[in-house]
């Protein structure tokens, strides 16, 4: 079947199977930041924004995304660059495999709640697993970014 959608701001029409998952669709269209870490919707690695809302692209049919705006980290580089340097400064990126999903969901968090508490950050990102960092460095990075931003304001 043919679908039309917007991928990272660009209109796209493509031939897909009825059961093509959004994760496979976006990877096939060059968005390699989107990772598969499990088959059970538990890891958060495949997070993309669907009309601005963070969803698990492993659990969304590409067909369902037709007519909608899909964004991956490839399309949000500038917004990500604002804060990921602070995570790099902590060394909390580690292996990096969970980073894109985590960064995407952090973007969603900060859009929804520009000044979250540590507990709000933990709760919002609870669905993003990371096995390397122990999470604390990720939190320190986001906190440093937020505190720095407050300093500027």
């Amino acid at each position: 079947m043919e679908i039309k959608l917007t991928l990272n701001g660009k209109p796209l029409s493509a031939e897909i199977e009825a059961d093509t998952l959004l994760i496979d669709f976006v990877r096939a269209h060059g968005c390699y930041s989107v990772k598969r870490g499990c088959e059970t919707a538990n890891c958060g690695l495949c997070t993309v924004l669907l009309d601005g809302t963070p969803v698990l692209s492993c659990s969304v049919l590409a067909a369902r995304a037709a007519g909608h705006h899909v964004q991956t980290l490839e399309g949000l580089q500038e917004e990500a660059e604002d804060f990921v340097g602070f995570i790099a400064d902590q060394g909390a990126e580690q292996c990096g495999f969970c980073n894109p999903g985590f960064v995407m969901n952090t973007i969603a968090l900060l859009r929804e709640n520009p000044d979250p508490t540590d507990d709000e950050i933990r709760a919002y990102l609870a669905g993003n697993l990371c096995r390397c960092s122990g999470y604390e460095g990720q939190l320190r990075g986001i906190r440093a970014y937020l505190d720095g931003r407050k300093g500027e304001a």
Binding site: A28, Y32, S33, V34, K35, G37, C38, E39, T40, N42, C43, L45, T72, L73, E74, Q77, A80, E81, V84, G85, I87, A88, D89, Q90, G91, A92, E93, Q94, C95, G96, F97, C98, N99, P100, V103, R122, A123, L125, A126, G127, N128, L129, C130, R131, C132, S133, G134, Y135, E136, G137, Q138, L139
Partner: protein, 766 residues
């Protein structure tokens, strides 16, 4: 205290690949390899133990798009091991790529390759297998000398004398010791004796096992794999396919985590066989389920500890017996077990008069185990540390005090650690600082929080090694290039830990330049200098020293080139970072010009390669303290605070070292409280997904606080030891201790779930 006038080392430099990874650039196997290659999948056994009587692939082969299907009839009949270890491997040669005998639920039965995943899935369903189902050995207590043999085959062989005997289901067996442990224990005022059980926990690196293979333009097998061990992969694949080593070329891109899982050749053989036989490119991507059921997890162990002390808390003897379950194959079986005694008993070298350490490693019909961060030390330390805390309890001595009284101290010879001397040991300072940071005296007493909840604390110490003494080889090549930047080539594998960066920091320190002036390359079995690989906490310590040596050699070479340019003898010049100067101040050539010269009319290599191996494996040490809140009505345990103070020698990059500690602590918390592995009566693993195998989220770990109390290791680069593995060792004993202090019940089997805690409390009340 460490001499610390370093410029680049011991500084929190950003990881070189950090921004690329955080911005999601293509970096991993499936991002950087072609997608129009064959999809490879494996048909897996539903039985724990069976012989394949008939296997019919005719119908499956007819599925459109199927390229080939291989069964045990199609593979070389020479056994090999998938363990990534230095040859001759201690792990027995007990594998074929596919075998007529299947030995666990999930064992490989057939390999299917096809143009699309759908075609392969369809073909997998259409393979008809007739099994002669055999009785399995599922209980590892009954494995030794069981009449059912996991490996009855004649061509099974052990290359090293590790006490292995396939006719007894033994993968390894040994006893060692010092002094008369029975006599000393008999003379002790108090002896604690218990058995501790840990499970086959999974590394659960976020990137599953995956490998791409193709035939390159020289007709060689080119393997791009997510691996910690490119050189071992070359040997193992050549062994498995029974082809010359010269035909194999292995490289790794970025790795999405390893933690030891990728120290075993788990996925590589399948696409390699397909490509070698068909000449076509192929890729295998393990599913998460495959990782859980046919990966390379921690060895399940039962560790029996006897620890004896006098009334005053002086620990005089420790006796450890470990029964380790290697599962269906022996990868890392003979070696992991050694750490359960050799890296737990020496913590109490202080007053130790005698020790004994014995073990058996048995084959069973469950998933084969492998290497997982901590590598046996984790299991042994859980047991010994738990026993010591219980001993303190019985003697009425504060658990911190009993440790202070008996811990290993700098300068002592550790009899249970191959008689190595603790050259650099700040364990005492770690304890002192941890106690202070944590507030031990306030937090240890049980505090009633109301509503059935209490708060309390637990403590544990740990050690590990730094590389495998006398075995591991690390190498580095450093080269001066255009305009005066350097290329550093290594064979060690950065799996996210940051070794590319910390080795560059060392090179920058040696060469008096910035980390940005060092471009790092690795790891590639054709292009990198030889390295055993990144495991056994070896890279910083072993390869780091190789970097130091290579830089020294390079400086000599550059001085020779410069002397030629300055028309003087090499003894008249010195390396000065940005330039090479004449000692008398009469001349100087810039690095820029030396680099230019090195590429024009030059006969002296502007590069140097050095290798390093160490006769010792200096242990890092640490102390961990945990505060919990325990709900006595539901058994729920919440981790509130975890404080760790670590002596890893000089932390080469304090931020990366800290994140290593934090990551290890959270994995350890997972092992202690959540991560279970249980089997159906058929031998099938129940925890076969992230839905069932629960690793900690960021809501499950409390707040972490990490500090370093550095010693200075004279044999290490810039005083460094290791950090990667030790960090997983304290949570299990510290949490078991805290739970025991809260409830009066010692839990000796992991994970300690709320249900176990509650029943413990109820039983205690009866």
């Amino acid at each position: 205290m460490a001499e610390n006038n370093f410029r680049v080392v011991n500084r929190p430099v950003r990881k070189k690949d950090a921004m690329q990874l955080l911005l999601g650039k293509p970096a991993y196997v499936d991002d950087v390899t072609p997608h129009d290659c064959l999809v490879v999948k494996v048909l897996r056994s539903p039985h724990a133990h069976a012989l394949i009587e008939e296997i019919n692939t005719d119908i499956a082969c007819k599925v459109p798009g199927i390229e080939c299907i291989f069964t045990y009839k199609d593979v070389p009949q020479k056994r090999f091991t998938m363990a990534g270890q230095t040859f001759p491997e201690p792990s027995p040669y007990d594998r074929l790529i596919l075998d007529q005998r299947v030995r666990f639920v999930g064992d490989a039965v057939a390999i299917v390759a096809g143009a699309t995943e759908k075609a392969v899935d369809k073909a997998l369903k259409l393979i008809k297998v007739k099994y002669q189902v055999l009785e399995p050995v599922l209980d590892f207590h009954t494995a030794k000398d069981n009449k059912i043999l996991v490996h009855p085959e004649d061509n099974w062989r052990a290359l090293c004398p590790v006490g292995a005997d396939n006719q007894r289901n033994l993968c390894a067996s040994e006893t060692c010791g010092d002094g008369d442990v029975d006599a000393v224990l008999a003379d002790c005022d108090e002896v604690v004796e218990h058995t501790y059980h840990t499970k086959a926990c999974q590394q659960t690196m976020m990137e599953t096992f995956r490998t791409y293979t193709e035939i390159d333009h020289y007709g060689r097998l080119h393997i791009i794999s997510s691996t910690q061990i490119v050189f071992h992969v070359r040997r193992i694949i050549a062994n498995a396919l029974d082809i010359p080593k010269s035909k194999v070329h292995v490289e790794k891109p970025r790795i999405g985590g390893g933690f030891g899982a990728k120290q075993t050749v788990v996925a590589e053989v399948y696409p390699a066989l397909v490509t070698w036989k068909t000449g076509k490119a192929a890729k295998m991507i393990y599913s998460r389920e495959e990782c859980q059921i046919a990966g390379s997890p921690r060895h399940e162990m039962e560790v029996r500890v006897r620890v004896g002390a006098n009334k005053d808390g002086v620990i005089r003897a420790i006796d450890v017996y470990t029964l380790s379950n290697t599962g269906a194959f022996g990868e890392h079986g003979p070696t992991t077990v050694g750490l359960s005694g050799h890296k737990s008993i020496p913590l109490y070298t202080g007053n130790l008069e005698a020790f004994r350490f014995a073990y058996d490693v048995v084959y069973t019909n469950v998933q084969a185990a492998g290497a997982y961060r901590g590598y046996g030390a984790t299991q042994g330390i859980f047991a010994v540390e738990s026993a010591v805390s219980e001993l303190a309890d019985r003697l009425g001595i504060d658990p911190v005090v009993i440790r202070e009284r008996n811990m290993v101290r700098e300068g002592q010879v550790m009899t249970a650690y191959y008689n190595e001397q603790a050259n650099a040991c700040a364990l005492d300072r770690c304890m002192e600082r941890c106690k202070e940071l944590f507030g031990w005296d306030e937090k240890y007493p049980v505090r009633d929080m109301g509503n059935g909840k209490v708060r309390t604390a637990g403590v544990a110490m740990a050690m590990q090694g730094s590389g495998i003494s006398g075995v591991d080889v690390g190498s580095a090549t450093i080269k001066l290039s255009d305009e005066g930047f350097y290329n550093l080539s290594i064979g060690a594998a950065d799996m996210g830990t940051g070794c590319d960066t910390i080795l560059a920091q060392m090179a920058a320190e040696c060469l008096d330049c910035s980390v940005d002036d060092i471009a790092v390359f690795g790891a590639d079995s054709d292009a990198s200098p030889y390295d055993s690989g990144s495991y056994a906490s070896s890279t910083t310590y072993v390869t780091g020293k190789a970097v130091e040596k290579a830089c020294a050699q390079l400086k000599e070479n550059l001085c020779r080139i410069a002397a030629g340019m300055l028309d003087c003898d090499v003894s008249e010049v010195e390396f000065a970072g940005k330039s090479i100067k004449k000692l008398d101040g009469t001349g100087e050539v810039s690095l820029f010009d030396i680099a230019t010269k090195s590429m024009c009319g030059n006969g002296i290599a502007a590069e140097a390669t050095a290798s390093n191996s160490s006769p010792v494996s200096p242990p890092p040490f640490m102390v961990g303290m945990v505060e919990i809140e325990l709900d006595k009505e539901t058994g729920q345990v919440d981790v509130l605070n975890y404080v760790a103070v670590v002596d890893c020698g000089t932390p080469v990059n304090p931020h990366l070292a800290r994140v290593q500690v934090e990551g290890g602590l959270v994995q350890g918390i997972g092992m202690a409280l959540f991560e279970d592995v249980t089997y159906e009566p058929t031998g099938r693993i129940m925890e076969n997904s992230f839905m069932q195998y629960k690793i900690p989220t960021r809501l499950d770990m409390g707040k972490l606080r990490v500090e370093f109390e550095s010693s200075y290791e004279p044999t290490g680069p810039f005083g460094a030891k290791s950090i990667g593995e030790i960090v997983i060792n304290t949570p299990s004993p510290a949490l078991a201790h805290a739970i025991a202090h809260a409830t009066g019940v010692w839990h000796r089997e992991l994970p300690i779930t709320p249900e176990k805690v509650l029943w413990g409390i109820k039983k205690g009340q009866e």
